[in-house]
Symmetry: C2
Subunit: 468 residues, 2 copies
């Protein structure tokens, strides 16, 4: 049977455990290093191609445009963006997607995938999905089980049925979902060989998922169905009804139905996966060198071992000296230094910062965001232009910008007009306006570009006042 799979990208996580890189107001699935794609972009790319329909994304109100922008960056246009009025964990989010999908096709296949995981081998993943399709079409709730590599206490586990093959290349019978174990129990489970990690990736039809909620989760079903029915649609955005949504319980899909359902199957997957759940996982996934170190650009390791040095910005140099088993993450407004064994306590730190009223607990301080790393807000950049030269305008300079001359003389070409500006003069240019910037003088030209509109296309004329 050849039918499209509808990817459901869950994009509502707050990613607090990767603070300060990830914060409530700009969580880790969106974070994009220079030149690299975000986790969301990676997830979207992974579920594109002949097997798949365009994805449905479930996210929060504040992130709806960011989702569109980031997906466009990897050539993906979602079929729909479901907007959660508030975060309600995975059960309501997945069920809402099922209801939205079943409006056009009640038997549509849904591949539910978190947007903040890393799966390096795209082909292996698509292959596993394809192999799981028949079982999902047969009416089972198929989950993907990761071959465990350590006695991790941070994940839930999947217990295989006695007849199952944990390393098989086809869906297996699943006995049950197991909640996060303690260290002893985790070690026992790993030793038995009968358990896989629960990665929160699922394949099923919309119909079967809704049926499972009918049977096991009516308390979720009723408000979510109402929130979808009363949703407000605008282009591809579907804003779930906030009144109905507010009555939906905050509950995971595992707890709501998977731990109760009997039509379960698991597709083993061993080609590599990480949820980048904490900084220790990031260290592990980043490929430590022979001494166990991971050092980003703009970081310098001297006599370190088993250490992650990560500067998120070209504006911050990070130096580590004589460190062992340390995670150091430097952003322009917040720095984390933690022992590798303690990275799960980052949430505590965020709570402590929130308690003391530090904005960095949840937000990035606008003034510190470099232009090339954050698509939102306001940027100011100091630019020096040598005498007699032309400044090469980067794409961000095509946005609406105030150009302030700090010293020297600037010749700015805008449409067909040439403006000469001296110290303390300024020029406001709407998006897309400026064509050329020259320093015609004999001294260095220093100017400040203050970008006031993140989105392009603003072309309204705005006059300026001058007072000496």
């Amino acid at each position: 049977m050849n039918r499209n799979i509808h990817p459901i990208l869950l994009c509502g996580g707050a990613g607090t455990r990767l603070w300060p890189l990830s914060r409530r107001d700009y969580p880790k699935q969106f974070v994009r290093r220079t030149g690299a794609e975000s986790l969301l972009q990676g997830a979207a790319r992974r579920v594109s191609g002949p097997l798949f329909a365009p994805p449905i994304v479930v996210t929060g109100h504040d992130f709806r445009f960011l989702v569109i922008e980031q997906l466009a960056g990897v050539g993906v246009q979602p079929q729909r963006v479901l907007i959660e009025p508030e975060a309600r964990n995975t059960a309501p989010a997945i069920l809402a997607a099922a209801f939205a999908l079943s409006q056009s096709d009640p038997d549509a296949l849904m591949l539910v995938a978190p947007s903040d995981h890393v799966i390096p081998d795209t082909e292996a993943f698509r292959d596993a999905v394809a192999k799981a399709v028949p079982r999902a079409l047969a009416g089972d709730l198929v989950t993907f089980g990761i071959t465990p590599t350590r006695a991790e206490t941070g994940y839930g586990y999947l217990q295989l049925a006695p007849d199952a093959e944990p390393r098989a290349d086809a869906p297996q019978n699943l006995l049950r979902f197991v909640e996060k174990p303690d260290a002893t129990r985790a070690a026992q489970m790993i030793a038995s060989g009968d358990f896989l990690w629960n990665a929160g990736i699922f394949l099923f039809t919309a119909r079967m998922l809704i049926a499972a909620f009918c049977a096991h989760g009516p308390a979720v079903l009723i408000p979510v169905e109402a929130a979808v029915r009363a949703a407000c649609c605008d282009l591809i955005f579907m804003r779930l009804d906030p009144v109905a949504w507010a009555t939906a319980p905050d509950i995971s899909v595992d707890y709501a139905i998977m731990e109760k359902a009997s039509n379960l199957a698991v597709m083993p997957f061993s080609a590599g996966w990480s949820d980048l759940g904490d900084w220790d996982a990031v260290w592990q996934e980043s490929g430590p060198d022979a001494r166990g170190n991971v050092a980003s650009p703009h970081s310098t390791a001297i006599a370190c071992a088993d250490t992650l040095l990560y500067s998120t910005s070209a504006g911050v140099e990070l130096v580590g000296i004589g460190l062992q088993d340390i995670i150091a993450v430097a952003t322009p407004d917040a720095v984390l230094v933690a022992h590798r064994s303690q990275t799960q306590r980052v949430k505590e730190a965020v709570a402590a910062l929130q308690h003391k009223g530090a904005v960095q607990a949840t937000q990035f301080r606008t003034a510190h965001r470099p232009w090339d790393e954050n698509p939102h807000g306001l940027w100011a950049k100091r630019i020096e232009v040598a005498p007699g030269t032309t400044f090469n305008l980067q794409p961000q300079h095509h946005a609406a910008t105030h150009w302030i001359i700090l010293s020297g003389v600037a010749q700015m070409t805008h449409r067909d007009q040439v403006h000469l500006l001296c110290k303390n003069e300024s020029l406001y240019v709407a998006a897309g306006g400026l064509h050329r910037l020259d320093n015609p003088g004999n001294v260095p030209l220093i100017l400040l570009a203050v970008q006031t509109e993140a989105e392009g296309g603003v072309t309204t004329n705005h006059p300026q006042s001058a007072v000496g």
Copy 2:
């Protein structure tokens, strides 16, 4: 005998070992934490009062105004600022001060003191200086010997004469200067009880110092004498002649004369001293709490021990989790994380950064300096004003400033004129100009204040151009 002592404040150090707080272009003696005085200010205050003449400061060209400004901040006006055309270690600097001083009084008493040390007990220090005076007037070169508290390998030592009392409250005979020892030798010296630390603090007459150079350091004497004779004087600034100065050897006063002279004495001093020579010393001097931690404002320690967490800026939150014996120093453009036992390797790190071309090796990046902490450069600050309210203008807003309206409406009162500005309009106000800033509208007013002149007093009119 009651005559004034002329303090010679040596203010030419680069302070590289306290990177990133201290950098070549703004070394540690000038660094001022919010509300606290700089080390230079502390040193100047320590040598003021009835015993002392106004100080002579020896510093580099780039720091001459900063010296004046910082001394004025503690009510001190130097009698002279000697400007070294380039750094040449302590021997030429001290000798130049002796020549400058002997122009008016060849028998003037000189108290040579580094400007970047900490001596908490000012009265004890002044008392020790007073007790050393007779010996200096009698023609000896008196050094101050710190009672050692550990087998430190980072300092030079002073070996007492056999008849000396290391804990006496009067100058003692000194056998010799000893260069920095290795760990074994340092332990032996501490055990013997015959050694004190050489803190680089001296008392002698200008005449006797010059005489010592005549006897032991003619290679220093000749160029330095010429550099003072051909110096260019401007108000209190005395710029040493660069041509003569360039031929002076780069040599410490210990090595040039103290290790050779026989008219030596030492005044023991046990009331507390630190050269803040590295981050470990800073940790020690900062008064660790019961768990051994030192945490600055804007830093948070969770499950740490024997650790320094130091954020230099209100704009950077620093968090440490599970750390033991770690130094973490966060500035807006550079972060150091080092094991406490490795802090002497910071110079290596600075060299590595210089090698890779990172400006942070030697400079502070202007764009990252917050307004309230740095007197130089360019500041941009985002300001929000609630509807119907007046924004209270801080002193820094009285500097020359571009005000850019990002959203809402601003009513700006300048002299007798009231200006209404809307989104994307801007207003340039010269220093001291703006009187009031109101939000007369119904929505929040968000504006950006870009300060382009650090020094006040600029009142020239500058027109602006506008292009939409």
